[in-house]
Symmetry: C2
Subunit: 329 residues, 2 copies
């Protein structure tokens, strides 16, 4: 009985808190915030013609550029470059092979990294650094790196460069019983070690690109070891395919920032009921970065389609009070 | 405030119900039931040295032979055979090609279906019947079939041939905040349309074998279409690989009935904390079927390893009061 009373008090507290506090306090009271709230109220209100049962409240989020920054290059690249340097003594042939040679020289800007063109160079580096070791070893390497590595421009931890208004959006959706998935072109094995702590999204709700693996015994212990072969690339058209394969039902809300997210939004908005698509537009070169149609992962066709279809486009400059959590007063 | 009071009453009711009713009432009070309860109490008791936080309470279940029966052949085969017959007029070449020819003739027992040897024949039939149509169309075909198709021996709906003690086990684990996944060699697209209703397991927690897919537009509408190429086979060693790829954390409990589940159990039991592995042994030829070492999906190495490692082996004959839900009084 004591437990029940305690639970009731907790519920009352949560209830009061929800009513009193603004769940999207870092958002200006402009159109995007209003559109988000209108959508959530519509699908959660019992009896509403647009009501969506809890189990169907699936929301999918891109990661790079949507939940955290992605300049000058998606942050996983910094991890990969450091791994290549660390592994270079065991791989002397890399000194004469691009893209490894430029990365080892520290000349990252001249490295022929072209993640737009079939991700060829980046894929070669992912395969080289993620294969041949166990999933446990790779997880430890990511965990150790993310705890201390700092961004070259802000000198902040990468996990400090999450987008505060988007963290509030995650919490707001979660409070309204949405189940949130990350669907990112980045590696699932790179995101999972920290996504639960940073975003509150558990590993099983993090969908990313992956390499093939094998199951074997090492010293009598079963391990899973990476094979240098692509398993799936969850970018562009790969996003709806990954959603279907992993989640098995269509999201009712999707969030992204580039053309790589467009098929996910097309899939989301073609569902039979109400849906919501939101694009984050990086247009704030003072507080973050301003870029769209010309980045290696451009926001071009997606921007046109969002404008023509009336999807929500967030101007980071005009719609957000702050960008990063460390700006909070 | 009214909501809070209602919630408290509901909690009180659930609490009383949990304490009073036996959650595993179809299980005899033999060793397996005791082992299940001891494990669950150990990992859920705060302060226990074996306590496992809720988010890490991952349990993985095989489907065929573990959650429902699988004789004379896994039930998905019956669906596939019917699809082949239905599609045979559009595929006249099948009349002269095995395994299609025997299936069309209705001579299923003589069809060279060998799902043990790399699943070659079955795979050919899966690829032929699941590709070239959209995921929505395939889902409709499964839903329509499972609603009416009956088992040749029992004349019951296949969904009536779930194993009642295992349904109780699912509910018991769920009540103790376990997150339950199916990890089956069957197709995820075959299981997902009915698994939520029948087992309470949502599509995103159903992991199965899959074929490749493509994203395209048909009449201006985005669709996902099956391609006749295997994507992943989640049997045997494929089970821990699928667990790692889909869930991204190691289960603490696994449940199966054949050698195809052994790598999943090895992976589960090699975790750093406490774990639980349970095999269902089909030894009841009166109420169900008796088979193990000689079936197309044998329980042979798994049986030996379970016995040598002290995993829980359920005798359906001795440990279960009833087999199917329709036997309930």
């Amino acid at each position: 009985m004591k437990k029940i009373i305690l639970k009731s008090i907790l519920l009352l507290f949560l209830f009061a808190n929800t009513v009193l506090a603004d769940p999207l306090s870092s958002w200006n009271d402009t159109a995007p915030k209003k559109a988000i709230i209108a959508f959530v109220e519509k699908v959660t209100k019992p009896g509403s013609k647009d009501f969506v049962p809890i189990e169907e409240r699936i929301a999918t989020f891109d990661n790079d550029g949507t939940l955290w920054s992605e300049r000058p290059l998606p942050f996983q690249c910094a991890f990969i470059f450091e791994r290549i340097k660390a592994l270079s003594s065991q791989n002397p042939q890399w000194k004469n092979t691009e893209p490894f040679a430029s990365v080892i020289k520290g000349d990252i800007n001249s490295a022929p990294v072209n993640i737009n063109d079939a991700n060829k160079d980046l894929l070669a580096m992912v395969l080289a650094t993620q294969s041949g070791i166990t999933t446990d070893e790779y997880e430890k390497a990511v965990t150790d790196w993310i705890a201390v590595a700092k961004h070259s421009k802000t000198n902040r931890l990468y996990t400090d460069m999450t987008l505060q208004p988007m963290l509030e959006l995650l919490a707001y959706l979660r409070a309204n019983d949405f189940k949130i998935f990350i669907v990112s072109g980045g590696s699932s094995d790179f995101m999972r070690p920290w996504a639960e702590k940073v975003y509150g999204i558990p590993p099983e709700q993090v969908i990313g690109s992956s390499i093939k693996t094998k199951f074997e015994f090492q010293n009598g212990k079963p391990v899973i070891v990476g094979i240098p072969e692509l398993n799936s690339m969850t970018a562009g058209k790969g996003k709806p395919l990954a959603i279907q394969s992993h989640i098995g039902r269509r999201p009712i809300a999707s969030f992204g920032n580039s053309d790589n997210d467009l098929p996910m939004m097309q899939w989301t908005s073609a569902g039979s009921g109400v849906s919501f698509c939101l694009y984050v537009h990086h247009d704030d070169d003072k507080r973050e970065w301003a870029y769209d149609r010309k980045f290696i992962d451009p926001f071009d066709k997606g921007l046109d389609e969002a404008l023509s279809k009336g999807w929500t486009v967030v101007s980071m400059k005009n719609d957000w009070k702050i960008i990063y959590p460390f700006e909070k007063k």
